[in-house]
Amino acid sequence: MPTIAVDAMGGDHGPDEVVKGVAQVSLETEIETLLVGDEARIQAVLERVPYNPEHIAILHCRDAIGMGETPREAVKKKDASLVVGVRAVADGRAAAMVSAGNTGACVLACAQHFALLPGIKRAALASVYPRHTEYDGQDPLALLLDVGATVRCEAPELVQFALMGSAYARRISKLPSPRVGLLNMGSEEGKGGDVLAEAHRRLRALPGITFVGNVEGNDLVHGRADVIVCEGLLGNVALKLLEGVAEVLGEVTRSAAESRVTWRLGLRLLSGGIDRLQALVDYRQYGGAPILGFQQLFLKCHGRSSSGAIANAVKVAAKAVRDRVPAEIADAVAALR
């Protein structure tokens, strides 16, 4: 079983929710975890919950990186849990890392301590998000990358993102031939400027992936593509928009229920459907966003992750290690060369 390093101090609810998530994993699976953070605080949480100590090791460090800290300054803290954890993975003490901490610092720490896979120019932060399915048996989750690791990209980098996302979906979502789309402002191949037009041309000619052409913003939530490729700036805006819409929908539903009795009754009748919708947009189900392109794996969880979300992320990280996702990406890039 692989050892997964977990940044115990990261996120809005660290170390409580993180440690509880790891404790849950220790009881449900054989995955070994390396909790990185303040030992006394971690132990204090462990003593309040059921856990299996045989699967949990603790790597003590004093410091932590706050969610609001500047990434460049934050990663200079050599004894911060995130940095210590990433170093532990780089040194081979763990096979992958999970953190709900500061996203920028996570990406930067990976860039500083992990080696890029041969042929990869830039890493990508991928996000798994829920979408409508077009046919029975289609995965209800799609992969969007990059969502912030590389703000501006060139066409060859977008092509590499397509290869990375495709390899990840093949291994983790078990899709034999994931459909890849390029996020653009129109479906025509010349749209979006030189970079996107060039990326479109290259992707269309690329063997080994199933390219479905340009996809527009509304296609994000439809089932047209399983992997959607874009530069970090655009991906981040799109992802935050999806999250924002889901949050507003929830708030509107709640306020509707409070304002009129008839609406409340109506919502009660629809409660089954609403629960399913909430489950679909619940980020806790998706096990974090992988940072792809490095020889080591890193899963970035939502900052507000609950113990369940952390537990899922650890399981996905272990699955990605077992299924040799980095090797799959390296093979795909090598085949291109």
């Binding site: 070994e32 030992e39 132990q43 003593e47 059921p50 100590p53 045989e54 603790i58 003590h60």
Partner: protein
């Protein structure tokens, strides 16, 4: 002229009395459902499965005591009915366990007398049997008690230990017994016996096998005498730290777990580290106990340098665990407050 010096032979070490629960402590009994209970009733000795490592811990305790010239007694006390006694004795014989006595709860007798409350009430039975065993043992015997986290073993054993030490009696003892559902006649008998057994003997440790994975913080109120352990490697480590097991016995337990229960060196290492973090083994003692295990390849090679040693020492200091002095009584009022609510019985009300 030859001077003959007469040396007084060393005083014999006080005897060791080990008292074990059976189900969920020695045996991996499963009777959470009626179906499982039915199956358990029909199991033969060969069907029964022990908790990994327990056999080697028991054999180690006996062997270590013999090695050091200490008498050791092993007693089992079970709330199971004597009707399954044959299967249990067969199992213990199969495992080669050198036990001295085994006591079952005669449920049929209670049923015949129509005393249905006594069918479910185990605390009074267990305390009575513990006291009976105490009376038959040498007065200065040291005791180790082994139970699990399914019922009230930590509380029953702690009450017994404090009675033996002369720290618990009278009204407080009556209140505790009433609260845990012991009937009035048994309460009176136990309170009377408490005065008789108080003496130089003492209960050194109470080991609780965390079969249900009860959060370890729950046991804080019981003080460091109670050691909640997740596996018998942890139990063996504490016993070895206290001198009840020799390094070779500890090695045997670790080998049994590595060979038969799939414990990897990493899992054993994590178990040791957990015990150190919880304060049941000091960092120094942990290092000392780990040395022969590392040498035998049962623990990963020691990765630790001075920096790591310093860091762990600092973490231990930060935890700031206050050791419970041996003559300090437990806060039974706080313990009772944390017990799950139960229906008040007339006896409990009376006390």
């Amino acid at each position: 002229m030859k001077v003959i010096r007469f040396r007084r032979p060393p005083a014999p070490l006080p005897a060791l009395l080990c008292r074990w629960d059976l189900d969920k402590t020695y045996l991996r009994s499963e009777f959470d459902t009626l179906g499982q209970l039915w199956r358990t009733a029909w199991e033969t000795g060969a069907d029964k499965v022990e908790v990994p490592g327990v056999v080697d811990v028991i054999k180690g305790l006996k062997a270590c005591a013999e090695r050091h010239g200490r008498a050791a007694q092993l007693q089992f006390i079970s709330a199971s009915p004597p009707q399954i006694g044959k299967a249990i004795r067969d199992k213990l014989a199969l495992d080669g366990i050198p036990y001295d006595s085994i006591t079952f709860k005669d449920q049929l007798q209670h049923l015949r007398r129509g005393n249905l409350r006594k069918l479910r009430e185990h605390a009074g039975f267990k305390l009575t049997e513990l006291l009976r065993g105490r009376r038959g043992a040498p007065t200065d015997a040291r005791e180790l008690l082994f139970g699990d986290d399914w019922e009230s073993d930590p509380l029953i054993y702690s009450v017994y230990a404090d009675m033996v030490a002369g720290r618990l009696g009278g009204a407080l003892l009556e209140r505790v017994l009433g609260r845990i559902g012991v009937d009035a006649t048994t309460v009176a008998a136990i309170v009377a016996a408490a005065g008789e057994v108080a003496g130089p003997a003492r209960v050194d440790r109470i080991f609780i096998n965390l079969e249900r994975r009860t959060p370890t913080g729950v046991f804080r109120l019981y003080g460091p005498r109670v050691v909640p352990s997740f596996n018998y490697f942890q139990t063996a480590l504490v016993l070895a730290g206290d001198g009840w097991l020799d390094p070779e016995d500890l090695l045997r337990v670790a080998r049994a777990l590595a060979g038969g229960a799939g414990f990897t060196p990493r899992r054993l290492e994590n178990s040791l580290a957990d015990l150190v973090r919880r304060g049941h083994v000091t960092p120094d003692s942990g290092d000392r106990l780990a040395r022969p295990l590392r040498k035998a390849g049962l623990l990963p090679p020691g990765p630790r340098g001075p920096a790591d040693w310093f860091r762990r020492r600092l973490a231990a200091l930060r935890r700031g665990r206050r050791p419970l002095a041996s003559d300090e009584a437990l806060d039974y009022t706080a313990i009772l407050e944390r017990l799950p609510a139960r229906r008040a019985t007339p006896e409990a009300k009376a006390t």
